[in-house]
Subunit: 293 residues, 2 copies
């Protein structure tokens, strides 16, 4: 394992290649939310090996600037490449919105043009565009994802006639990560933000949950909606999209090992990660610590 100082942009600009040997699929998130995506991916593709990396020591990304989200995401992706991943999924909307394009276009060609980094926004958008009948879509997401405009921009690429209305929900992640999302205080913020979205465009028939934490609020959100509005969370969409990707790219599929194994890594302490992860997963897990930044 290279020491801390070699994991930086210097290395990448030198066009250093990582070894081309089969490895686990990397699932990256800024915190715990990506576990909701991981769960659906493993249900869809149980035979593959996975590494989950949560940058919990620096979570949440949702309210941070472009520069910071890009820097942290690139550090984590680089580390997952060093751990042997040929394919990394950014199971984090803020990282997908603020860092994915630059990593794909600027860093990957220099680091290793054969590796792949995929995000969660494009598959979500493709699914949701096929679902709306009014052509009015709502987005509930973090401030960072909303400010990035990534969802409306991706949707416009597919269909210019679709209107997207966004509502930033900055309190939802702290409410979930502190396990306070079933309280009356949480109800206030969830009800207010959903109401604001519906008021901003009464023609919305499809609402995207553009944050991997939000599936934990799905029942509550659905209970606030008039009949006929559907809610789309990302886990199953991303899982099916990944399965489809592997089928269409046998050269990448052959570089993903298949023993049904998983390892969890976190930049936070192992105890804290394991305890908080239990809010999201339905099994006891054993995490390993990694030091980044």
């Amino acid at each position: 394992m290279p020491d801390k100082c070699s994991i930086n942009l210097q290395t990448m600009q030198n066009n250093t290649k990582f070894p081309e040997i089969p490895g686990p699929i990397g699932i990256f998130d800024s915190g715990y939310g990506g576990l909701t995506i991981l769960e659906k991916i493993r249900a869809e593709l149980p035979e593959y090996d996975y590494i989950y990396l949560g940058d919990n020591a620096r979570t949440p990304y949702g309210t941070r600037s472009f520069e910071v989200v890009y820097k942290y995401t690139l550090e984590c992706v680089t580390h997952m490449f060093e751990m042997g991943c040929q394919l990394v999924v950014l199971a984090c909307n803020t990282a997908s919105a603020k860092a994915l394009r630059t990593i794909q276009q600027r860093n990957l060609p220099e680091m290793d043009p054969n590796r792949r980094v995929l995000g969660v926004i494009r598959p979500t958008v493709e699914a949701v565009v096929a679902m709306t009948t009014t052509n009015h879509i709502g987005l509930l997401a973090t401030t960072g994802t909303v400010q990035s405009d990534s969802y409306p921009l991706e949707i416009q690429k597919i269909n210019k006639d679709i209107h997207v209305t966004s509502e930033a929900c900055p309190m939802w992640v702290p409410l979930i990560e502190n396990n306070e999302f079933r309280t009356k205080g949480a109800d206030y913020f969830i009800e207010r933000d959903v109401r604001n979205l519906l008021a901003a465009d009464p023609s919305i028939d499809t609402i995207m949950l553009g944050c991997t934490h939000y599936p934990l609020l799905e029942d509550k959100i659905k209970s606030l909606l008039p009949k006929g509005i559907q809610v789309v969370s990302q886990g199953e969409i991303v899982a099916k999209s990944l399965a489809d990707y592997l089928q269409r790219h046998p050269e990448m599929e052959s570089l993903c090992t298949r023993n049904g194994l998983i390892r969890y890594f976190s930049t936070e302490s192992v105890e804290k990660f394991s305890s908080s992860a239990s809010i999201f997963l339905h099994e006891e897990i054993k995490a390993e610590h990694i030091d980044l930044g």
Copy 2:
């Protein structure tokens, strides 16, 4: 300025000394809360120069593990030494609780035994012990500060007969940093946590606000308390304690420059820091970016 890789424990363990020339007083916080302390310090000691460093790219510290808080705090303190500070105040309760002692006992002797790092817990405790008449004190703080047990331990050193009852308030910092602390949703969490504290010990006559964000909630908290319970926030206490320290240590006082200047540094983007800082300060500020970790 040394490059990123030289700012690490390796440098310190080599017993590298920083130059002994007069410099500004460093005020460190994990985020924006330390600005409430800085404001009071500048009101008390306006003639000195200050550097404020907010580790906003990695905030909040309040819910992070000991290991992570120690690592980040040490990086920031080291950086402030490199910028010329002879004296650094950790204007952050979590850093004071989880990192101060180790930095003072383990790192300072190796880095530079003449520099000083001071925290906010000891001066707060000294003030509050003198104020209680029932010997029952309440503490409202982040989960990290409460779990560290630093406040009860420091109080016990002064007076073993004093009972300290603590209530962790994990939602208060996100409510303040997202400027949601004046909402009904915020009221729910503030009222619940204050009520829990009072129920746990009805003899409390003095409540410490053990987080530098909480002065923004002081009026709301006071409105919830029965008559006769006093609330102590830290700004003025820390400011008076620093003035007293400089008077008692002329060798350190002579190493602090006095031109009434201030510079703000943040690990976040300059735009984001300046905009969020306006929640805490009553003036427009111009921040500078620094890259850590």
